[in-house]
Every structure is written in structure tokens, then in C-alpha cells.
Symmetry: C2
Subunit: 339 residues, 2 copies
DNA sequence: GTGAAAGCGCTAACAC
DNA sequence: GTGTTAGCGCTTTCAC
């Protein structure tokens, strides 16, 4: 196997000591400009790159960060990853991605694994299956920089970034009401997720602001978040079987939107139903039945999360005033639903 | 910041030397069973994990591998990544993912970056924009283990795994012919990709096997691979504008399928056109116009690629007889096209 | 069966 | 402005 050039090779060739070479490479002002230039030129010539393992060992930093998402195949997450990557790359960080598949066990194991692989920081979107946060608080207490994005948790004090879910749900609900749909059912994600309560609350607030009643029976929680189709089918069957059928459907996540559309496509009597759902799919506009949709600014969320993490990792002093940034989503109304 | 336990901490506590502890942790037979047990128990108790940077430095191995795909948001690739991850994880490897966005420059930079971050091996699906392979051959010659998956290249001798694209295209074309569609147009990806020529050849062979003529004018290459919608729209417009209009459309990639459907959805006079396209989208069956589709076994391809890479990385002796594994795809016929 | 010591490649305190 | 030296945490050869 190929043997990479080291600082010693450069030192020997140029007649300097290893430390001078190291300093020159780091652009230290202690080293004369000429020496710096000579060293860097030669380094480039022989294709020298500092050994990351040695650097990590010495600096106790790995220059890699870990990302925990539910599933990379989910459009929202893959777009977020693109945002994370674009910032990380520019700043010289590697991105190690792991998936929880919305399972607590996978999340706990993966996060442990990442932490022990000495990532310098963690970007986490909580798994839907997680209710016990001790695996994360443990790391956080140790001082590992962590930023939460998308599915955040209140218990841990750190930087967080997510869609303004309350506002998005509020606006979307108001839009439905404005368009004449007053009896609106809500298909919700697992109740323990932050995004779930925020979205439900936005929906409730919109009803209230328009003096419409909130009915518990119109809200269906899906604990598997759309991973199990039956759960969604049952929810929709339940809603459409109500004596006073809803006129519109608000679907509170990407996965759920897909599952709901699949469930609805098998029914014949849904054409009078207006549907609005969260979705970041790039083909949502081609899917039938056509729906209106709320698209999150996934790329921005990724960028912001990574910027926050860098701030946390590179800060010389402990940070105490943490910020939770809310990013606006965009609503795309489908004209088919205009009454 | 938290300070992790080291081998020395264990040694001091238990009254052994660091070397004995190291050996015990590695289950060396030189160490007595009792000592091994004592050391491991204590290590577990204090939550000891060996420092990966130190291990990397000493062993010149990082236990991480790099993956190069066009785009994680592409269903085929995200499914492949799931396969890669499942095997990597089990074997204790970290997966570092980078994306080329089908741009040569990004591919070259990212691969260089990965290689210099001392990944132990590389899993590569070529970018559509790449025609010069020197950035890869250079690494390969140095002895860096590389496995190609999906979009492979002939020039480099190593393990490769991909869908049996010839067979998939052959079978799909034969199916169209059997169903009565004889004049079949072909929307192809960038011509320099292995998957493109294999698929075109399968299509040609199927025509020939059924004594049908191959017409150059019915094949449209999309150099941006569907990233630029206009390219696809133009191709389809061109085909539908032919004096002797095609009866069926064969679309040779996931991206192109999406783009083609989008283009077709804007046209009104496509209903008599039978469409079959490659797609690994989980909502392809909900998209209209409905198409028949060829789904690749993406997860398996990922698993196999990772297994091959491990074989390459962990082999004590250089390997010379390389294998190219072909994985079967599945064809889903849409009954709407039955004449 | 266990310990001492060297060294992987790099950085930084301390010399001069 | 540059060199010497020690040490990050681990593995491994060489002793006994």
C-alpha cells in the first residue's frame, strides 16, 4: 500500500526540522515568509497532506461531525443533508451520516457509536420512537456540542433550528378556512415529537382565531409516523366514516402525506375532500390525488444547523445563551380545491 | 470538555501495565483468561472506548469508508446507502457520504478529500459529468481499495456491482413488444455512463431478437441526465413530433423518469403512449401519468458493494481476480397499457 | 503471562 | 527564526 508523505520527509528534503515545517504549514508568524513559501511549495509538489489521525490525536479533534436523521431516503432529510454538507465541506468538516429509521434503539446505538468515534459534534433530528433522552443528555453533559434540527427537544439547552411549525400549520389552516373549508381533520405524527405538538397547536390556534370549534375526534395520531400504512388507512377510514364528515384534511408530515395519498388513491369517494400536507418530495405535484402542500426550507435548515454547530465547536468559551431559530415554510395551494 | 478514559487509567486502577491492558482488550492469548476478564469488566464499567485517532495512527487504518454518489436525494442512491450502511455498521466501519451532483469537479474534489482523510476504502458511483478518470486511477494505483457500484467504469480493474442493465432493458423492451408496442422510443442518460450503453444495448438486442428495426432517431440522449428539464422536454417533443410517432417510451433512468413524467403531464396527447421507465421512487405508482417501471435492487447493490470493499480492505494479500456482479432488477407492468 | 520501551505523525512549550 | 523535546493513546517487539 501507498505510503503518504510526512512532515519529516519535507524536513529532510529541505534541511529544516519537523517543527519548522509544521509551523510553516500552519502559517505561523514565527517562521520567515521565505521558509513558509519553500515548505508549502514543496509540500504541494509531493502532494503532502497532513495525516488526519495524527492531527486528531494531537488536537483531540477529528474534524468530522455526526448527523442523525430518521431516513436519508426521506426528501426532507436528504435536502437537509445537502445543506449541512455544503457548509461542512467549506469549513473542512467531514459528515458522517447515520439513520435511526425512527427506532429508539437504532438511535441510541448510532449516537453512542458516533460519540465514541470522536466526532467533534452532533446534529440530531430526534427519532419518532424516542421518549427517553438519557443517551443524549449524557453526551451533552460531557460537553459534546450538539445541535438539534427539525425534531427538537426542549429538555436540552443548546442551539436548535426547525421550521416554524406553528406558523406553517396556522397559515395552512387559515388558508383552508378562507377557501371555505371549515371542518378540517388532522392526521398527526407521533405525539411525543416537537413537530407534532407545534403543528397541532398551529391548527388549533387557527381554528380558534376563526371562531371554529376544535374537535378531538378530528385529530388522528399515527405513532409509526406513516411507516405502517394500515395505521394511516385506519385513521382516514375513521375520519371519512364520521357522521359529520370532514371537508378537508391536514396531513402533518411528509411520510404521512405519502401514506395518506396511497390510502386515498384506493378510495373512490374522496374527491370532495381538500387536502393539504407537509411534503418536500420533488414529485409531490405529479402525485394523484393532487394535494396542496407545505414545503419546508430543508436546505436552509441544514445550513443553519451546521453553522450553529460550528459556532459551538469552535467557540473558545462556553456558550450559555442559546438560540432556537425558526425557518418559514412555503405553502403551495392547489387550485383544484378552489370551490 | 469531557475527558475519555484511556488504557492507562485501566492499567493504573488494576495494577497492570498499559501493554497488558491493550493485549487483554484485544483478546490476545498471551494474557491469562482471568486478567482478560478483569480488564474487560473494568473497561465496560468505566465506559472505556479505545481512541479511534490513536488506533488509526498506530494501525494506519481509519475504519471509515467513503461513498461517492450523485445525490442522496435520489431514491436509488438513498436505498443503496441503506444497504451499504447496514453491512458497514455490522462490521464496525463508519460511512462518510459525499455527493457529486453529477459534476466532475465536485467528484474530483470530494474523492481527493476523502482519500486524504484516510478512509480505508472507497465506494464509487461515477458522476455523469466525468470523462477523465485520472483522479481515481491515481488513488487506485496507490493501492487504495475501491469498489464501483451502479455506474461503473471498465478502465479500472477492481470489484464492481451493478444492476444487470442489459437484461433489464432487454426484458422490458421484450415486454413492450409482447404487449403489442413495436415502435419504441428511448430516452437515454449521458452516453459516457456504463448504465447508458448497457441499457441501450439491451433495448437494441431486444428489437433485433424480435426482428424489429433499430432507428437512431428514436433514441434521445440527455447529457444532464434529467437535471435540466428542458433537455427532456425537447427530447420528448422531438419524439412526439416525428412523422411516424412512437407507440411507447422507454426511459432509462430514475431522474429521467421523473423529468419525463413532468414533461408529459403538461401535454394532452400522450394518452396512447405506453411508458416504461427505470425508477426506485417509493411513490412512482402514485404519479400520473402512470407508467410501468423497472425497479433496481438498490439495497442489495449497496450490501454487495460494501461486502466487496471489506474483502478488498481486509485481505492480507493482493487480490487479482476481480468480479463484476450483476443484480437483477424487477419489472412492474402497468395494466393500463394492456391493449 | 506480564512489563518496558519505542514509535505511528503531528504540535507546542521551551530553548537559543 | 529555527531546533529540541515531549507527548497525544495505542500497539507491538523485545525482554524476562
Amino acid at each position: 500500500m501507498f505510503k503518504a508523505a510526512t512532515i519529516k520527509d519535507i524536513a529532510k528534503e529541505l534541511g529544516f526540522s519537523a517543527s519548522t515545517v509544521s509551523r510553516a504549514l500552519l502559517d505561523s508568524h514565527e517562521v520567515s515568509i521565505e521558509t513558509r513559501k519553500k515548505v508549502k511549495d514543496y509540500a504541494k509538489k509531493i502532494n503532502y497532506y497532513s495525516n488526519p489521525a495524527a492531527r486528531s490525536l494531537k488536537n483531540s479533534r477529528s474534524y468530522s461531525i455526526g448527523v442523525m436523521v430518521a431516513d436519508v431516503a426521506n426528501s426532507f432529510f436528504s435536502q437537509t443533508i445537502n445543506g449541512i454538507e455544503s457548509v461542512a465541506y467549506e469549513k473542512g468538516y467531514h459528515v458522517i451520516i447515520t439513520q435511526s429509521h425512527d427506532l429508539y434503539e437504532r438511535e441510541a446505538i448510532n449516537i453512542e457509536h458516533l460519540a465514541n468515534s470522536s466526532v467533534d459534534g452532533l446534529l440530531i433530528s430526534m427519532s419518532a420512537g424516542t421518549t427517553d433522552y438519557s443517551h443524549i443528555t449524557k453526551l451533552h453533559e460531557r460537553g459534546l456540542p450538539i445541535v438539534f434540527f427539525d425534531r427538537i427537544i426542549d429538555d436540552i439547552k443548546t442551539f436548535k433550528v426547525t421550521t416554524d411549525n406553528f406558523k406553517a400549520a396556522f397559515d395552512a389552516t387559515v388558508l383552508l378556512i378562507k377557501k371555505g373549508y371549515e371542518r378540517i381533520a388532522f392526521i398527526a405524527n407521533a405525539p411525543q415529537l416537537s413537530i407534532t405538538s407545534d403543528r397541532v397547536n398551529g391548527y388549533k390556534a387557527a381554528l380558534e382565531a376563526n371562531s371554529l370549534p376544535f374537535e378531538e375526534s378530528l385529530v388522528k395520531y399515527c405513532f409509526a409516523g406513516g411507516r405502517i400504512l394500515d395505521e394511516v388507512t385506519d385513521a382516514i377510514d375513521g375520519l371519512l366514516g364520521l357522521p359529520d364528515k370532514p371537508q378537508a384534511l391536514f396531513i402533518a408530515s411528509d411520510q404521512l402525506s405519502k401514506a395518506s395519498i396511497r390510502a386515498l388513491s384506493k378510495l373512490s369517494h374522496h374527491n370532495d375532500l381538500a387536502i393539504i400536507g407537509f411534503s418536500n418530495s420533488d414529485v409531490i405535484d405529479l402525485i394523484s390525488p393532487h394535494i396542496s402542500y407545505i414545503k419546508q426550507n430543508a436546505f436552509s435548515i441544514g445550513e443553519i444547523a451546521m453553522q450553529m454547530l460550528i459556532k459551538l465547536m469552535e467557540s473558545k468559551y462556553p456558550i450559555y445563551n442559546f438560540e432556537t431559530k425558526l425557518v418559514d415554510a412555503e405553502i403551495y395551494w392547489n387550485d383544484n380545491f378552489d370551490l
